[in-house]
């Protein structure tokens, strides 16, 4: 898979620093799973984080901090790998996809596809720790176009299957896109087949036209 569109530096830095909202973080998790280039970039940014952690002036700890920690370790039993989710968990209950479900979405709750217009389906993705995060999936039929819209803040899109073109560029499976209020676009799916995307929205989508706004309202945007 040749990935041509990656998250930009500012987004990667916010991910590495841990300051992204949950929805955006999930989108980056999914992109990183499929993108060795960005994993390498992240490794460097994590090293920057480690270096900056080391150069912080140490704060005074409580006098019994180490013994408390050792006591907690003793109570918890021997060192063991824990909290490791099984790699193939989480497919149950999710709708069928033409590609494997991203591991990062294992704990997410994804309902059945819902109709939102001719050849257009959507799906709310519920994050276990952040049910309010506006994350959803779109499945748009070959040749269909989404209503023209812009964004009050920030929308991230990860293409899982197929391809779309919004006039700025073509986005294929594995590609990542970030749009904001400066982008007003009308993504159009390529003729070859359906396109399935994962999207995270901070703020709202702003659709042009009353019908489109109604569609947007139906998916909570």
């Amino acid at each position: 898979m040749m990935i041509r569109h990656h998250p930009d530096d500012a987004l990667m830095l916010a991910y590495a620093a841990g300051t992204l909202g949950a929805g955006h973080r999930l989108l980056l998790d999914v992109h990183l799973e499929g993108c060795a280039v960005c994993r390498q970039h992240l490794a460097r940014l994590n090293a920057v984080g480690g270096m900056l952690l080391e150069e912080l002036a140490p704060a005074e700890l409580s006098p019994h901090a180490l013994e408390r920690v050792l006591a907690r370790i003793d109570n918890a039993g021997p060192a063991a790998a824990e909290d490791v989710p099984g790699p193939s968990n989480g497919v149950r209950g999710k709708p069928w996809l033409p590609v494997p479900w991203p591991a990062a979405m294992a704990a997410c709750d994804v309902g059945p596809w819902r109709w939102m217009g001719p050849g257009m389906y959507w799906n709310r993705v519920i994050l276990p720790d952040a049910p309010q995060a506006k994350v959803f999936m779109l499945r748009i039929g070959a040749g269909r176009m989404l209503p023209q819209h812009t964004h009050s803040q920030s929308e991230l899109t990860q293409v899982l299957w197929g391809a779309f073109d919004d006039g700025r560029s073509e986005f294929r499976a594995g590609d990542f896109d970030e749009t904001d209020g400066t982008v007003r676009h009308q993504p159009t799916v390529q003729a070859g087949g359906d396109c399935i995307c994962l999207a995270s929205v901070e703020g709202t989508l702003r659709f042009d036209g009353w019908l489109a706004r109604l569609m947007g309202a139906s998916i909570g945007m």
Binding site: L20, G21, A47, L52, L56, L66, S154
Partner: protein, 223 residues
């Protein structure tokens, strides 16, 4: 930030040494200046491979006060930061078996654990992490992904750490500041704007500029 120096007259090492039930009676004899990255990696590997409590105590001495500082920098109270640092070190102990010194520097690995715990920490406190653009109505929260970086995220280990260190040192001070604030602050963009006297809208381009410079230096070193 109040209370940071409250207990500066107490020597923590002495109190720890007196505790009756500890299997670590004394802190390992490590130099007062910062231990080398190589030593830290060996210590962490030894915790993972041998459940080495001496090594853990040395890591604790180096990292726990810095993890506490990391949380206090992002606005946590001293007691919250203390609890957080202890929790993070418990996590380091539990996950140490997954650490491979060939893949990551100890500081990189421990940072990733502390960072992911901080995400959880702020979620539990109900604080909202900074959004790319701030929306008072948006209640998006941070999720807790697996704190341990995967091997693929740690391609360079100590070499990467060394390269990043010298690349950072070569950056102009303003760009170093931008990166520091990006990592330490809970609301980095607002803080960067204040510190540099910039409108909020131009912060992102400063962040990109700093990262671009860092990347160019790293690419120059690693090609």
């Amino acid at each position: 930030m109040t209370g940071l120096r409250q207990s500066s007259d107490i020597d923590p090492a002495r109190h720890r040494a007196r505790a009756p039930y500890l299997s670590v009676a004394m802190l390992p004899d490590i130099p007062e200046h910062a231990p080398s990255p190589e030593l830290l990696s060996q210590l962490l590997a030894s915790v993972g491979a041998n459940a080495d409590r001496q090594a853990f105590a040395a890591l604790f001495k180096h990292f726990a006060p810095r993890i506490k500082s990391y949380l206090m920098r992002s606005g946590s109270s001293e007691s919250q930061a203390e609890e957080f640092a202890q929790e993070a070190m418990v996590s380091v102990w539990k996950k140490a078996a997954g650490f491979d010194p060939a893949e990551a520097a100890a500081s990189t690995w421990i940072f990733a654990i502390a960072r992911n715990l901080r995400i959880d920490h702020f979620r539990r406190l109900g604080n909202r992490m900074e959004q790319l653009a701030c929306d008072p109505h948006d209640e998006t929260l941070a999720d807790g992904a697996d704190p341990a970086p995967t091997p693929e995220q740690q391609l360079f280990g100590l070499e990467c750490e060394r390269a990043v260190r010298s690349a950072m040192a070569a950056l102009p001070p303003e760009q170093q500041l931008v990166l520091r604030l990006s990592f330490y602050e809970e609301h980095p963009h607002a803080r960067i704007a204040t510190e540099l006297g910039l409108p909020l809208g131009t912060v992102k381009s400063r962040v990109r500029l700093a990262l671009n410079q860092l990347r160019r230096r790293l690419d120059g070193m690693q090609s």
